[in-house]
Symmetry: C2
């Protein structure tokens, strides 16, 4: 990766389909078949929803995305009808790791969560990613449980 | 608790403010000051949003809520623009525990999540609640991290 001077952290835009957004997510997990229309449809749903913010990091010299992380804000009754930010789907391009990009993406989501009045942000991660999130200011709390559903 | 014949598991309604909804949540965590107008405002926000479903268990003979659990559905790009159900704020009245109510609430949320096309449901819990969620068909997966925000 070149120096960070060409790096822009911003909200996901609809033309990021052409800047490698799905290829980036494929480094994290199964993306499946998502064509441009499906991407665009989901993008509009999330862009119109004030409770979603998807951050990306772009190398503007190459119009190429190098990282992404998603924030979904949950509205609760507890904590005086408070809000909680859930951080999801954090990934940095393999070739761009070690340059603090992940940290910048998390900082961006924490900034948005705070601005939206969240009293906390939470995320689930693998054991080996705990040190990274600790550097981002998070602490280990509970245990994530999962149930996969047959559709 | 009386026999389960008077028990109804259903979606949260706006008049549940008067059936002990907030007192129930106060057995889980800090509720803070939430008056009837604030409850009603948040209720309308969530009731109009297809991505929220808050289940309650009511003892209909007493018009009293005995348990609640919330589902928030997250829309993703991964897994073919898939959806994930987040289960939050699960609590059963102290006097009504040991009667399978929590299990019925979780089953209800899993049913809704499946109906809405979620490919999985996830939740975070304390170590000592793992056996309960395992009985509900969930398995231990990752580690929850948290950051509390100054507002």
């Amino acid at each position: 990766m070149s120096a960070a001077s060409n790096l822009l952290v911003r909200k996901l835009e609809v033309d990021d389909f052409g800047k490698g957004f799905l290829a980036l997510l494929a480094q994290l997990t199964t993306v499946g078949r998502v064509n441009q229309d499906e991407f665009t449809g989901r993008w509009w749903e999330l862009n119109d929803n004030p409770d979603y913010y998807i951050a990306v990091a772009e190398d503007t010299s190459k119009s190429q995305l190098l990282g992404t992380a998603a924030l979904i804000i949950e509205r609760k009754f507890i904590h005086s009808c408070g809000k909680v930010g859930h951080i999801e789907d954090v990934v940095v391009d393999e070739a761009a790791r070690g340059h603090n990009l992940g940290h910048r993406l998390i900082d961006e989501l924490v900034r948005v969560a705070r601005q939206q009045g969240c009293y906390k942000v939470i995320l689930d991660c693998a054991e080996h990613n705990i040190p990274f999130y600790e550097k981002c200011g998070l602490s280990r709390k509970e245990v994530q449980m999962v149930k996969y559903l047959d559709r």
